[in-house]
């Protein structure tokens, strides 16, 4: 009984919020929303101690391969500060550059599925939160964007993250379409 009333209340809130939001963001583009999401993910994951940035160092957000966001992501990254650490954006043409070792989180998009998979493989040995997009193919990083019912959502591979010592907060998990344990 109580659960049901809670659901109804939440549903009503969501509806009100959606109605309020729609006029303001009727034109929000899919890429802009994804760009806004990406730097925010850092806040909701815990990296292993060794991988956390030093006191005055930024979190490195990397775009590896194709960059669908351009300046949208620069701006989104610039507006994010997590526990005093700013977010620095780095772009790499491919994952076989030594500097990708410093990436805390990486959006990975190769030209086609196999290319993306190769890039993901290259990152699999380090504690980097990998993000992919269903628009660029089937290979999945720890977070995989999907557009469902006209909204940007994502699949989460918690098992892959855990293997690299990355802990994903329940608040982020709650938003996932599904979570691979």
């Amino acid at each position: 009984m109580r659960l049901r009333s809670l659901r109804v209340a939440l549903g009503a809130l969501a509806a009100i919020w959606t109605l309020a939001a729609v006029p303001a963001f009727a034109q929000a583009s899919e890429v802009a929303v994804k760009a806004a999401f990406i730097p925010k993910f850092i806040r909701y994951v815990d990296f292993p101690a060794a991988a956390q940035p030093a006191a005055d160092q930024p979190y490195y957000l990397c775009v590896i391969g194709h960059d669908p966001f351009g300046p949208l992501l620069d701006r989104a990254a610039a507006s994010e500060v997590i526990d005093g650490h700013p977010v620095a954006l780095r772009r790499f043409v491919s994952a076989d550059v030594p500097a990708v070792a410093g990436c805390h989180i990486a959006f990975v998009a190769g030209a086609g599925g196999p290319a993306t998979a190769t890039m993901l493989d290259a990152l699999r040995r380090q504690p980097t939160l990998t993000i992919t997009d269903e628009r660029t193919g089937r290979p999945r990083g720890m977070i995989h964007f999907a557009v469902i019912d006209g909204r940007v959502r994502f699949h989460i591979d918690q098992a892959a993250a855990a293997q690299r010592g990355i802990v994903i907060s329940s608040r982020l998990l709650a938003l996932a379409v599904d979570v691979k344990q």
């Binding site: 583009s29 929303v33 669908p68 949208l72 043409v93 086609g112 089937r138 557009v147």
Partner: protein, 627 residues
């Protein structure tokens, strides 16, 4: 009437992207202030462009990526295309190469491919083939090359009979900064440079120039006249991209000029300009409009060939429930001129205007989560051939994320070229005003997937039935000969390739291409040419490639390829190897040494008696600098 239609479509192009861009920028700041829960609830305007992920495309498709291109020895498009296991490339001389998919290899016979450079079709309406020496984009600016063998489905324009080569350059915002490249070898020197910069906040532009100087190679014993096939020339151009995925405008253009030396003063030049707008018109729909103008003139051994093309295309993508619909129309008009002072063969008329049109509608319908049916209908015609209706049916089964099985049946036609219809010689060849389109019915089946975590594999089988292929028939007086459509036959084959990522730093790829063919003269028909129009194909082609990325920015690439004999006239098959060692000292400097055809001092790749030269071993040094 038609001009009016085009103009009205083009008008909105100028206004829309600016507006949408300003809007997106205003919002980004606001979006960043939202919580993740709020972002997840935000309705988005979906970029419904039908950019099919490779893993779900139910065709025999191979993609050469930008990193493959960067690691390739090739300094020309045709050399880079050797990486596609579903293509057969023959280098004829320093200047000329031919590229074929599923047979019909040869300079004059490889006329069933559609080649697109950023949406601009570059096959020639003179003979339906491609003059590759007219195209030298800066290879460093290419995003990828998609190679489809087979009719390629409904979505591609005219001439996509045996394959489609779709060369796509990078968005200008992906090529910011300066790049310079130089290579030097015994027979070839190239230099290229590009500078990319931002245009406002969400736009970018690049300008580039590419220079090449290729020297003649010795004539092959027993083949052809000993002529100097050297070529020296340049291509320069620009590309500007404005807007975002939801509304994107591209404007690009190129100009080129090159000189050949067989006859002093001869060479080729041309230019083109293309505009394309892609935008979302609803949550589930997007449109694309494209228009281009292209002009070139070739002057080669006392012939002059001029072609001017104007082309407009529009495309609509629509997603609704289980349906993904794509529809489009394209209209192209060409004006040409062909003059021949070398011999008595002429086109009659010397100038002509052709209209080539196509329209298509395709639905990808998801029967279940695993099975999709793709049904398409294509209309294709020209002022030479009338309209033809070409259906295409495909079935895709994806039992899981890593596995795709597909099968298809499709029809395709090659509409007549100017040579097919209008070539004449006063003493023995009559015009062929009744020359029909060459026709193909193709049955295909394939598998593509990742059988293991680090393995990808693709296998395609095909059976092609050709009708009405070009033949020479005897007609008696006043001219003894005329081109006809009296050859027919079957072709069957297997294309397979696999990639194994052995370790994170070592990747091995292998490819095989087997082809069988059986052509005959139609009952009651004749062909006096000895089936010249079917080309001469090797029955197998194998390749093996290794890509190693070592620490300290070292990259070692090596390839081995084996190609079977060519018949009539006989040319031995060959095995050749290439290798490249590159050192990326830092982000700014890359040095490399590349070796081609390492196993033999010379070899021959073609049996074309008029053009074949010896292809020599070659060592070259190169550098790329980025600022």
């Amino acid at each position: 009437m038609r001009t009016g239609w085009c103009v009205s479509l083009l008008l909105p192009l100028a206004a829309l992207p600016m507006e949408a861009r300003a809007h997106a920028e205003d919002q980004q700041q606001d979006l960043s202030s939202l919580s993740i829960e709020e972002l997840a609830q935000l309705p988005v305007r979906s970029a419904s462009k039908q950019e099919e992920p490779l893993s779900t495309a139910p065709t025999s498709l191979y993609v050469i990526t930008d990193s493959d291109i960067a690691r390739s020895n090739g300094t020309t498009l045709t050399e880079v295309l050797r990486q596609a296991p579903n293509l057969h490339v023959e280098k004829l001389s320093a200047t000329q190469s031919t590229v074929a998919a599923r047979g019909f290899a040869g300079f004059e016979t490889s006329n069933k491919l559609l080649v697109l450079i950023d949406g601009r079709s570059v096959y020639s309406t003179l003979h339906s083939g491609v003059f590759w020496e007219l195209h030298s984009p800066l290879l460093e600016d290419l995003q990828q090359i998609e190679v489809v063998s087979g009719p390629g489905g409904t979505l591609y324009g005219p001439n996509a009979v045996n394959g489609v080569i779709n060369i796509i350059s990078k968005d200008a915002s992906d090529t910011l900064g300066a790049l310079a490249r130089g290579t030097v070898g015994a027979n070839e020197r190239t230099a290229g440079a590009r500078y990319g910069f931002k245009l406002g906040d969400s736009g970018a532009m690049r300008v580039y120039a590419d220079y090449y100087d290729r020297e003649d190679t010795p004539t092959a014993t027993g083949f052809g006249p000993a002529i100097d096939e050297s070529i020296r020339g340049w291509q320069a151009g620009f590309r500007a991209d404005l807007g975002n995925d939801a509304s994107h405008f591209t404007l690009q253009g190129d100009a080129f000029d090159n000189k050949t030396v067989i006859v002093p003063g001869e060479g080729n030049h041309g230019y083109n300009l293309l505009g394309r707008w892609t935008g979302d018109i609803a949550d589930n729909a997007s449109v694309q409009f494209q228009g281009y103008y292209d002009y070139y003139q070739r002057r080669s051994i006392l012939t002059t060939d001029r072609l001017e093309t104007v082309d407009f295309e529009g495309q609509l993508n629509l997603h609704s429930g289980p349906h993904s619909l794509v529809g489009g129309v394209g209209l192209r008009t060409t004006r040409d001129l062909f003059l021949n002072d070398l011999n008595a063969f002429q086109l009659d008329p010397k100038h002509d205007r052709l209209w080539i049109g196509n329209g298509f509608l395709q639905d990808r319908f998801a029967l279940s989560k695993q099975v999709s049916v793709i049904a398409g209908l294509k209309l294709e015609g020209s002022s030479f051939s009338g309209l033809q209706v070409l259906p295409n049916l495909r079935l895709a089964w994806q039992p899981n994320d890593r596995t795709l099985f597909w099968t298809s049946v499709s029809q395709a036609v090659r509409t007549p070229s100017r040579i097919d219809r209008d070539l004449t010689e006063p003493t023995f060849l009559a015009k062929a005003p009744d020359f029909q389109s060459e026709k193909l019915v193709a049955l295909e089946a394939g598998y593509r997937g990742q059988p293991g975590r680090n393995t990808s594999l693709s296998v395609s089988l095909y059976f092609n039935r050709y009708e009405d292929l070009r033949s020479f028939k005897f007609i008696g007086n006043p001219f003894p000969l005329q081109l006809g459509n009296e050859l027919q036959g079957n072709e069957y084959g297997v294309e397979a390739w696999a990639t194994q990522q052995i370790t994170p730093w070592w990747r091995l790829s292998a490819g095989a291409n087997l082809l069988g063919r059986n052509f005959t003269v139609k009952a009651g028909g004749t062909d006096l040419s000895g089936a010249a129009s079917i080309g001469r194909d090797p029955s197998y082609q194998l390749q093996l490639r290794s890509q190693i990325s070592l620490p300290q920015g070292l990259m070692l690439d090596a390839g081995l390829r084996a190609v079977d004999d060519l018949p009539n006239p006989h040319v031995d098959g060959y095995v050749e190897a290439d290798a490249r060692l590159a050192w990326r000292i830092n982000d700014a400097v890359e040095l490399y040494i590349a070796g081609d055809n390492l196993l033999h001092a010379t070899h021959v790749e073609s049996n074309d008696v008029q053009r074949t030269a010896l292809i020599e071993r070659n060592i070259s040094f190169g550098t790329r600098l980025r600022f």
